[in-house]
Amino acid sequence: MAELILDSVSQSYAKRQIIADLTFTLPEGAIGCLLGPSGCGKTTALRCISGFEPIQSGEIRIGGEVVSRPGWMLAAEKRRIGMVFQDYALFPHLSVADNVGFGLRNDARAARQARIDELLVLVGLSAHADQYPHQLSGGQQQRVALARALAPRPRLILMDEPFSNLDVELRERLSLEVRDILKREATTALIVTHDQHEAFALADWVGVMHQGRIQQWDTPYNLYHEPGNRFVADFVGQGALVPGEVINDHQVEIELGVLEGHIPVECDASGCEHCVRNCHVDVLLRPDDIIHDDDSLLLAEVENKAFRGADFLYTLKLPSGQHALSLVPSHHNHAIGEKIGIKLAVDHVVAFRRE
């Protein structure tokens, strides 16, 4: 258990910058997540932290101790970092118990066995201690991998796309389970994934990565409701951007009406005064920002719909031709082409300057 700090870390390979100026702090005992599309550099970041890749600038600190800086790195086996690999990388020639006990070689026999038993109980695999990895299901293998990484009580656990080899239902259940296990061991953990549902289910802190940079390091709630830039707004959650015009520092007008709230529009060099009034912006509308109301006078045409069980996700065409999304309880079953009444319910106004 220890705090993880990355301080403007950069890494490049063959003159290509893989990660640039990566900075974040993961508090002790917290679960963090690097979220981003494939090729964004998140796996490289993980390998830098685990000590398998050198860094070209900046510093990585675990529990206050510098483990990587340009030209020097602490050997991976001395970092006391536990890693859970995408393909689990279990040792096929060892039983489940021996896999879990692999990192406990220097412990006394009794202590070792006690720790193995404790972890197998924790991950619910006590009955499988003597089996071999190939006899287990994917979900079970994944939990063995987690138990193996946790066994030596590492300062930090790293997980690389931990659920990508599992089917969707198992993923959701396991991500909750894994969070529970990590919290009970009170381990600091950093997880890499491209799946925001996983990130939101698991993490206390999420860093959205794009082109080697962290776009925003924040809580899942804030990432969804207060995305810092267009990429984050687009990558996290669903939604549509509709054009609007700024009235003043707390009001913005879109075709569906005036939205009230803090307008976090970046100011340019000429000063905020100038840009506030009549400034053209794009306003983010989440599907839960538009509510279906049969009594409303505001009408929109149903252009497409996706039945999702408890609700419908309607793609609406606004009078101006702009598109927006709306989540509607599933007993409101409207046909495509039908005009339905809507109203706004925006708690957090998110607007980006039009480029």
């Binding site: 086996e77 690999f85 990388a89």
Partner: protein
């Protein structure tokens, strides 16, 4: 890297040496060679290669198709049993065939005396050699074609049928062309074995390069002539190597259809009967009859032959094969590790070169390695005499060095294959997982790699062991005085036409050879998913 280069150099030495032999031409011998020997050798070799190519191709592909794609009684048995002839060295099949089918053999005698029939085709002929070699070598094509059909045949055939082709059309127009690179690779392996074969050719008195090299070595005592013949043989081999490497690069592994078994073609009772008859006949002729005959002959002579001398032969065989196999495994492991540490195109080529020795006939390696070792020996002796007053005529020549080096070059590929693929199965993540759990380089080797590679090392060792036990020309040409082995004993007995007395050592070789086949089949069936 340096080590890998050294191994690659070891392979190139015999090639360089044999070709450089043209620098010192012994006029009369070369004239004799080109006038009387070469035309016959080249003609014989071409006919042999052509015949064996057709033979192994037809046998291998048809049997592979039947066991991989069709369902008939006994298919599961034939699936592995058809590999058994691999355990039978061609020279054993050869002398059993002659013993059975010769004019004085039991079959002709019976036909003549019982029925007054004569005029059965002479077995000691070009056709006879081709037949025996095809029966002994078809498993190379069978094994590799079977895998090709099993992994992609079923899906391709269904696609062809959905496009309106009949099964027969589908086979010839889709499945066969798709499997062509595999079949070609298997055929080239069989042809390399054919070019390298010495024992069978000696038994049949069919003059090819290997027997000519042996004669130049022992009868003419002319190293240059042997080396010159060897270099011509290498040219033939290189053609095969080029074809084999080219077809290998064309092999692309498709996904293994799990339901391949359920897609097998159900043969009608009549066709199934024919399939059973055909596969059964091949198995009988290529394995069951020879092995039975060996057992019968052995029973006749075992009381007289099984003396202390015989145990010495067996002990030498086991000792040499054991030492050779250990060397092969150690070198193959180092070579595979070098590739893991420094992957890249250069390393890939170095590895390829280092494992090219499997293509070189033993007779060539014997000549190619004896010459430089003898030269080194002379230099050592001269130096020793000048500096230390050393008195003697040989230091290295009379030792096992040449023989073991030749084994190493020839069989390194046999060991490298399983070890390299075993090492590839240990992913980088496994290494990193172990390191994250606090394991250093030494622990990685002892706690992860060696345990995980155990099966691969065992397979590599077993394969090399058996190949060395079967090996004839290298052993025959480079063994130090007194180092007679089982294979040498087979050669000596067959040279005198004493088939019965060659049976006992042959049977020992065959029994040893069956072990790795069972091992591989068993592992294939129980491989960890």
């Amino acid at each position: 890297m340096l080590f890998a280069l050294a191994v690659a150099a070891l392979v190139l030495v015999p090639v360089a040496v044999t070709f450089s032999s043209f620098a010192q031409v012994e006029g009369d011998i070369l004239a004799h060679l080109t006038e009387f020997v070469l035309p016959e050798l080249v003609g014989n070799t071409l006919w042999l290669v052509l015949g064996v190519a057709v033979g192994v191709g037809v046998l291998g592909v048809s049997l592979a198709w039947l066991t991989a794609m069709c369902e008939f009684p006994g298919r599961r048995l034939f699936d592995w049993a058809l590999l058994l002839p691999l355990a039978l060295p061609a020279y054993v099949t050869a002398f059993v065939a002659i013993g059975l089918l010769d004019f004085t053999g039991p079959l002709q005698t019976w036909l003549r005396e019982g029925w007054g029939l004569t005029g059965l085709p002479e077995i000691r002929s070009r056709g006879g050699v081709i037949l025996v070699m095809s029966l002994a070598l078809y498993p190379y094509v069978y094994l590799i074609a079977k895998n090709a059909f099993a992994t992609q045949g079923a899906i391709a055939l269904e696609a062809a049928q959905s496009l309106g082709l009949s099964r027969t059309q589908g086979f010839f127009r889709v499945a066969l062309p798709m499997a062509r690179p595999w079949i070609a690779a298997g055929m080239m392996l069989a042809l390399m074995e054919t070019l390298a074969d010495f024992g069978t050719m000696a038994i049949f008195n069919y003059d090819t390069f290997t027997t000519a090299i042996y004669k130049a070595w022992y009868s003419l005592f002319s190293l240059p002539a042997a080396a010159q013949l060897a270099s011509i043989l290498i040219l033939f081999v290189l053609v095969a190597v080029v074809f084999e490497q080219r077809s290998r690069t064309r092999m692309r592994y498709g996904t293994v259809g799990r339901s391949a078994a359920s897609r097998r073609i159900k043969l009608s009772p009549a066709l199934a009967g024919l399939a059973l008859l055909y596969a059964g006949a091949v198995l009988a002729v290529a394995f069951l009859i020879p092995i039975t005959q060996l057992a019968l002959w052995t029973r006749d002579v075992i009381a007289d032959d099984l003396d202390s001398r015989y145990w010495a032969f067996a002990w030498h065989s086991v000792l040499l094969a054991g030492m050779g196999a250990l060397m092969v495994v150690a070198m193959a492991l180092l070579l595979a590790y070098a590739g893991r540490q420094r992957p890249g195109t250069v390393m890939m080529w170095v590895q390829r070169l280092a494992t090219l020795g499997y293509a070189f006939p033993g007779a060539v390696l014997a000549v190619g390695l004896f010459i430089p070792v003898a030269a080194l020996d002379n230099w050592l002796i001269d130096t020793g005499r000048a500096w230390f007053g050393f008195d003697g005529s040989e230091i290295l020549k009379g030792t096992l060095l040449v023989m073991l080096l030749a084994y190493l070059v020839r069989f390194l590929a046999v060991g490298f294959g399983p070890i390299d693929s075993g090492l590839h199965r240990i992913t980088r993540n496994v290494d990193e997982a172990a390191r994250n759990l606090g394991t250093g380089a030494a622990g990685l080797l002892t706690r992860i790699h060696l345990p995980m590679l155990r099966a691969s090392l065992l397979t590599a060792g077993a394969l090399a062991f058996v190949d060395i036990m079967k090996e004839m020309p290298i052993t025959l040409m480079t063994r130090p005085f007194g180092w007679d082995t089982l294979a040498v004993r087979v050669f000596e007995m067959t040279a005198e036409g004493e088939w019965e007395r060659a049976a006992l050592p042959s049977l020992a070789i065959v029994v040893a050879g069956i072990i790795p086949i069972i091992l591989m089949t068993w592992r294939g069936a129980h491989s960890h998913g």
